[in-house]
Amino acid sequence: MLLRRLGFAAFAGLALSSPVLAETVSDFTLENGMEVVVIEDHRAPVVTHMVWYRVGAADEPAGHSGIAHFLEHLMFKGTDTMAAGEFSDTVEAQGGDDNAFTSWDYTAYFQRVAADRLDLMMQMEADRMRNLQLTEEDVTTERQVILEERSQRTDSDPDALFGEQRRAAQYQNHRYGVPIIGWRHEMEQLDRDDALAFYERYYAPNNAILVVAGDVTPEAVRAMAEEHYGPLQPTEGLQPRMRPTEPPQLAERRLSFSDPRVAQPYVIRSYLAPERNAGDQKQAAALTLLAELLGGSGTTSVLAKALQFGDAKAVYTTAFYDGGSLDVGSFGLAIVPVPGVSLQEAEEAMDGVIAQFLEDGVNPEDFERIKVQIRAADIYARDNVDGLARRYGQALTTGLTVQDVKDWPAVLDAVTPEEVLAAAREVLDRRQAVTGWLVQDEPEQVVPVQGGAAAVPAQVEGETQ
């Protein structure tokens, strides 16, 4: 297989793997409301320290898109006791790495350091949770950086622009339809007051989750966390997150995006789909398996077998499910046609395969093979403690519990072919879908892109500082 850099490929094969053995993960809550998760892995004297906030782009006030991500950048400026840039300088002086990322549902900050440097990381991260200092100059310069970031990651990339337009069509009431990086005209207006108001409300221990993974013990983490995070004051009156919900979608939505820079046209469709919910992950598990069956393998999945072999219609096909969100998720299908096959033909071919699948049902051998891989993924996942830390942080900022994460492999394993088919019948309804065509356009027919309109990072979890 030789495939590259289509924006939606990042979704494929997502969320298949599962957590470490139960006894190596522990959790507790500090008196001020800060949750703590400890994942032990004593193979190397290294630790990952992460603080996740239950706030992301979908929590932004209308008209101020991009403020969650902008604040993430500004968190690397100074505090009452540290100069701008000193945080990262100090981590590096310890031989560590640090960074941060923002999504619709969460904002997270992390450092990887030698295990004996954990205390200092906690001291600094606790400091900037409540004591950030911003000058007007910090804000003005960093705003230019995020505008350049938007130019680089979105406006220069027709795939990303197309993804942004599709999301805006998919979510008409929920803020998931607004890009994490922000709409350019709103980003240009973001100021210091916006950043500080957002910071003061949401950056508090009762809105944060500490995840520590690596060569540590829960007892040691508890003692350090109580010392550094324990004294921080919670934000009073912080309400549970209730975002505007999507109204029922009654009519299929279609859009066509053309750009002279498009090299490879394709069709992509996404349906609103239920997400993983606390204590209720069964349908999400069925959809995870459905995505694997339909498009998880470039060789043996239902779409690949039907469309990429023999009289091939497609150079690439995939299916993806994003259920790792606080509110409604999505399920998607995509096809990249071979030269000479139109987007119309490609879409019809893809629909034909789906219709046939709904009629034929699940091939038992394919189903069993995917189950085998899921079980093995549990073993392979334990080799990557950073990945485990992210999995817990994401789960706990999207409404799940530690127990849900621990249960997930068993929930996946218990899914039956009948449940997969039932989930497919419920979700794969074009009246609840957005179908997009990415079209190659002749340069002379198109107004040069000015970077005015749109943008979404192609990944579920976008925006690293």
Partner: protein
């Protein structure tokens, strides 16, 4: 102030040592591998490299090694493409194959419970790939799709323009994926020849990390690789660098230009390599605090990120950098890069920068050894660079030994502000190609 003190105290603590015990294993058949036994998790990560990679493409056959590599798991032995994928997935093994400038890389993970079957399947892919006609056309289509995307990708265009101007007819001057013309013309015979030329025993490097003993690994090596041909294609000669300082503009409609820049670099085995490495970290390392990141991003907001890096290849050495900037400010950003280059060339770096960078590099090194897969990757890379097996325990001492005078001498030798060539892909304002 409190925090400064805490940091200063911890600096005296010993940097971590990379605590991995590496063994050299030689198979009964004479194939050598480096091994770290790690029996906590019931799987093994295996890394194989075949030196040469896409640079052993024969004249007129550019892209053959890349296409061959893409076909390795598209049918082997008795199995067609779907049969192979089904067998691999039934074992829950993962294989990946890729062709790079100087090597073909193979990464595999397999469970202890079915290791022999997984290895037999991988052997079949490496030793007896089928290169079926339908698979050839399918993967050729994927490669051509990628080339079409590259033709409209400012990042790819910038790299290609630089390489072409720097290396001309040498394989380094053209993309390893080939061109639309060369890939379209490749035949099955070309692919078979590329397989024979690129995957041979005289160019193999292997590492394994995980749940396997030295004895089992020895036997595995012969089963897996023993049936490959003893020798392969001749390596290309040295690539002559032919680019002078200046600017080349590649017109491309985009709001933000992509800039690739650089000049000749330094070999990996140069006695001054570590000094050059530290110098680069200070000047253009991708981290915050590096001079270019500070001047171009933090102070002025002209880019989202800028980085420079040493690129020692087998047949040439480059010192490259890259960033993207709005068309209106590209000229300003380029001027800053040139000025910083000149400043470091004449003045070197400060004692504080040297100390901070040494602390970072020595402290972060052990953090790389954090999983079977990453460790296997490091070990195979060390072998390809001809480093000794105890390198992980001596490496930090080499960093510590670099002095301010070393850096100054190397900066004067390696940094050549007048030789910097900038390839700008976009619609930059106030900049035109020269020469």
């Amino acid at each position: 102030m409190m925090l400064r003190l805490a940091a200063a105290l911890i600096l005296f603590a010993l940097p971590l040592r990379a605590e991995v015990e590496i063994k050299e294993v030689t198979s009964p058949g004479g194939i050598t591998a480096w091994l770290v036994e790690e029996h906590e998790l019931p799987f093994t990560a295996l890394e194989i490299r075949f030196k040469g990679g896409t640079s052993v493409d024969q004249p007129g056959k550019r892209g053959a090694v890349n296409l061959m590599t893409g076909l390795i798991e598209e049918g082997a032995g008795d199995l067609d493409a779907q049969g192979f994928a089904t067998a691999r997935d039934d074992l829950a093994a993962t294989f990946s194959f890729r062709a790079n400038t100087d090597a073909v890389g193979v990464s595999a993970r397999f469970l202890s419970e079915n290791r022999d079957q997984a290895v037999a399947l991988l052997r079949s892919a490496l030793v007896e790939p089928r290169f079926d006609a339908d698979a050839l056309e399918r993967v050729r289509g994927q490669v051509l799709s990628g080339l079409a995307s590259d033709a409209k990708d400012p990042n790819a265009l910038a790299g290609r323009a630089f390489d072409a101007a720097a290396f001309g007819d040498h394989p380094y001057g053209t993309p390893g994926d080939g061109t639309v013309e060369s890939v379209t013309a490749l035949t099955r015979d070309d692919i078979v020849a590329a397989h024979k030329g690129a995957l041979a025993r005289d160019r193999i490097y292997v590492s394994a990390v995980g749940d396997i003993t030295a004895e089992d690994l020895g036997a595995l090596l012969d089963r897996l690789l023993g049936d490959l041909p003893a020798t392969g294609a001749e390596m290309p000669g040295q690539a002559e660098y032919r680019l002078d300082g200046g600017v080349t503009v590649v017109e491309f409609p985009t709001p933000q230009a992509v800039i690739a820049f650089g000049h000749e670099g330094i070999t990996r085995d140069d006695p001054d390599f570590f000094a050059a490495y530290i110098l680069n970290e200070v000047l253009g390392g991708g981290r915050f605090g590096a001079r270019l990141m500070t001047e171009v991003r933090e102070k002025r907001g002209l880019t989202y990120g800028i980085g420079t890096y040493l690129v020692p290849m087998d047949h040439a050495e480059l010192y490259m950098g890259r960033f993207a900037s709005g068309n209106a400010v590209v000229g300003q950003a380029i001027d800053i890069v040139k000025a910083e280059w000149a400043k470091a060339a004449t003045e070197g770096i400060t004692a504080e920068e040297l100390a901070a960078t040494k602390t970072y590099l020595t402290g972060s090194y052990p953090l790389r050894f954090d999983g079977n897969g990453p460790i296997a990757d490091i070990l195979v890379g060390m072998q390809m660079e001809d480093l000794p097996i105890d390198y992980p325990v001596t490496r930090n001492a080499k960093i510590e030994a670099v002095t301010l005078e070393d850096i100054k001498r190397v900066a004067a030798r390696v940094l050549k502000p007048e030789a910097l060539h900038f390839v700008v892909v976009g619609q930059p304002e106030g900049i035109a190609s020269d020469g």
